[in-house]
């Protein structure tokens, strides 16, 4: 009896594990034999490809794939073929660090697009920098990544290999504060953040600007990113009667937070940064997310004439997932690297010797990308300071205003 059941258990486990492995074999993009004369350079992607934030991460991956495919098709770098090597960071710093280590030990990797999360970037930067691999982030908005920890008082370039195509929280927070105070005439807000580098930084810059304008921050609370029930925090905020809640964090928490806030009778708009600007936010927030606000970097991709081609190409390429909030920025980031490679790889004999030149070339890159003019300042930040305020209207993010930040 005993033996028979052991056999049964074993059999069922084997069947189960077979089923799992059969399923686990994901489609890997193989280089394929393309002649002996073309050399291969790889552009890595580090982004959350699974988990809560995968909607954003997969958009980044596919946009980079699109840029690389177009470069290969037009033979942008004669004698070289580009490949994409996408690694999952699960939105976790330690996993991201491993991904970066594995990319940096590959002698064919010339540049990396990523990460999505500022907290992951903090771990990835020091791994890629000593190998002179350029990193261009389409989505990191924490100011300290480029200008160092003391970015407010004593800005210093943190890593010469790090660049980004999106604007930072140093601009995003204040723009939100100005919109709420000046346009929406709101004087009392509560802030909530998730204690991650991104959320905390965003709330910090927002609160500073809001107080400077003469507004009042009536409550400041925090949540755990792992939580999905926020009743206790909402009840703690509610008696201070804020006219709006500013949330620093991403949509997997912000959507349910908005829904629970309104169900608990705190019927004020929730405002957040680019981390909540995703259709998933509205799906999770439900009907009551109507009127919630978000700022996001750059002008809306759909509205830019320069982006029409990207949107058409992306849809034509038949990717399974939408380009999401950072598609345009990832496409530009990949193209910035490719533009630098056109110079640095031209006469190079292998990838490793061309890495240093790529870093130098990237800081000089200037072209009109999908999201506007792409160029980097002395810290590696984008020179574009355009932000857009969005509002949820009839179940969709609608543009309220696009503003260029000054001062």
């Amino acid at each position: 009896m005993q033996q028979r059941s052991v056999v049964r258990v074993g059999a069922s486990l084997i069947v189960a594990s077979l089923a799992l492995t059969a399923c686990g074999s994901r489609s890997n993009d193989e280089g394929g034999g393309s002649g002996t004369t073309t050399k291969t350079a790889k552009i890595g992607v580090i982004a959350p490809l699974s988990g809560d934030l995968s909607a954003l991460g997969l958009g980044i991956q596919h946009s980079v794939e699109l840029a690389v495919k177009q470069a290969n098709d037009s033979n942008a770098i004669p004698g070289w073929k580009l490949e994409v090597d996408a690694k999952d960071d699960e939105a976790k710093p330690d996993v991201g660090k491993n991904a970066a280590t594995s990319l940096s030990s590959d002698k064919d990797v010339i540049g990396v697009v990523g990460t999505l999360n500022s907290s992951v970037a903090l771990q990835v930067q020091p791994v890629l920098a000593p190998k002179n691999i350029v990193q261009v982030s389409p989505a990191n908005t924490n100011p300290s990544l480029t200008a160092g920890a003391a970015w407010q008082t004593d800005p210093k370039r943190a890593y010469p290999t790090y660049f980004r195509t999106c604007t930072t929280d140093a601009i995003q927070g204040p723009v939100a504060a100005r919109y709420l105070f000046e346009k929406a005439k709101i004087t009392k807000v509560a802030t909530i953040h998730d204690k991650k580098a991104y959320g905390q930084g965003l709330v910090g810059t927002f609160a500073a600007e809001f107080k400077k304008l003469g507004g009042q921050v009536v409550a400041a609370e925090t949540i755990n990113p792992d939580d999905s029930n926020y009743q206790a925090v909402i009840s703690a905020v509610k008696p201070s009667a804020p006219q709006a809640v500013y949330y620093g964090g991403e949509y997997p928490n912000a959507g349910p937070l908005s829904q629970q806030m309104k169900a608990a009778g705190l019927k004020v708009p929730l405002m957040g940064g680019d981390g909540i600007y995703d259709p998933k936010y509205i799906a999770l927030g439900g009907k009551t997310s109507e009127g919630d606000l978000a700022t996001s970097v750059g002008a809306p991709v759909e509205a830019l004439p320069s982006a029409q081609k990207f949107v058409t190409d992306y849809n034509a390429a038949g990717f399974k997932d939408p380009y999401a909030a950072y598609g345009g920025y990832s496409f530009d980031a990949a193209n910035a690297i490719i533009a630098a490679l056109k110079v640095s790889l031209k006469d190079a004999k292998d990838v490793e010797s061309a890495r240093k030149a790529t870093v130098d070339e990237l800081s000089k890159v200037k072209f009109d990308g999908v999201t506007g003019a792409v160029a980097f300042d002395q810290y590696g930040d984008t020179t574009s300071k355009v932000l857009t305020v969005y509002k949820v209207a009839s179940g969709k993010w609608a543009t309220v205003e696009t503003a260029t930040f000054t001062g």
């Binding site: 005993q2 799992l20 399923c23 206790a232 925090v233 608990a264």
Partner: protein, 315 residues
């Protein structure tokens, strides 16, 4: 005062959810002295069962009459998982050293999580969303929507459902265990399985019933959490399971009343800590720390738990 009452309601709601899951840990422990760490996953699969039922048959509708059918769907999924788990993984290890079933339980927990994560959107003949991200849970009339105001205290409709579900389940559970043949069989097996077997009780069947009973309550908890939080995901069972296990230990493991009391206490500590612990160590992020501090204190001064564990002396 209003604020206190408000957090009391929040705490009781959260606590009811923990209590519903904790009963599953405690019933199984009481009968086979096994900590079924995969019970959190039974809860998760219950929630997915309810969601699947909704998506398959009622997609887009909001009538409250769907709720009982969703709960039945949740129960079928959860009970099926729990019974299969017992049959395939625990029964062969019944006489193995204690550590073996414990490690198996953790393995099953990871297995079930990954199964849902990877396979949920690949189930043939159904068009389910990918479980790799949080999935919005259907919001039905009556049990969700505008909150009820009692004075200055806001009570969410889903909270009323959760607390109500705990009350009803507790009464039915009490009746089942003390007044039915099967229930008294469970009591007998928990006191002494060998003698119970000699008295003609089918011990294997009683153990299956214990697993199924826990799964039924976990399924109801899964539906309540979906209604409350408006979303479910593949890893919702991990934290909830851990908290419910804590609640079971807090109340005294093996003791059903203890599990209910432990769940409610844990929920209350969490919501009160969010409100009343000031400064650096207060707020939402520290609530789990305070919850576990209470657990440690209780275990130091009262190792058998608040209501006392049912520890069967086995020679």
């Amino acid at each position: 005062m209003d604020q206190f009452l408000q957090q009391l309601v929040n705490g009781l709601t959260l606590g009811s959810l923990y209590a519903l899951i904790a009963v599953g840990y405690t019933v199984v422990y009481g009968i086979v002295q096994l900590i079924n760490f995969a019970h959190g996953e039974v809860f998760m699969i219950g929630a997915f069962g309810a969601l699947s039922t909704y998506l398959l048959f009622f997609d887009g509708q909001t009538g409250v009459w769907i709720l009982p059918i969703m709960i039945i769907g949740a129960m079928i999924a959860a009970v099926g998982t729990a019974v299969l788990m017992e049959r395939v993984a625990y029964r062969p290890l019944r006489n193995a050293p204690r550590l073996a079933p414990l490690i198996t339980a953790i393995g099953i927990s990871v297995f079930l999580q990954e199964l849902v994560r990877v396979f949920y959107d690949r189930i043939p003949f159904a068009d389910f969303p990918s479980a790799k991200q949080r999935i919005p849970f259907p919001q039905l009339d009556v049990v969700s929507g505008t909150a009820v105001q009692i004075g200055d205290v806001t009570v969410q409709r889903s909270a009323i459902f959760t607390i109500g579900a705990l009350v009803v389940c507790a009464i039915l559970l009490w009746y089942f265990i003390n007044r039915t043949r099967l229930g008294r069989g469970m009591l007998a097996v928990s006191q002494d399985p060998d003698t119970a077997r000699l008295m003609g009780i089918n011990v294997d069947r009683i153990i299956v019933v214990a697993f199924a009973l826990g799964a039924v309550l976990a399924a109801i908890a899964g539906v309540s959490q979906g209604l409350q939080n408006n979303n479910i995901d593949f890893k919702m069972g991990f934290i909830a399971g851990l908290k419910a296990f804590t609640a079971a230990v807090l109340g005294g493991i093996g003791n059903i009343q203890g599990a209910v009391v432990g769940g409610l206490v844990l929920g209350l500590v969490e919501s009160m800590a969010t409100q009343y612990v000031p400064g650096q160590f207060g707020g939402g992020t520290w609530k789990d720390v305070w919850a576990f501090v209470i657990l440690i204190l209780v275990l130091v001064f009262r190792p058998q738990g608040l209501l006392g564990a049912r520890v069967v002396d086995r020679a």
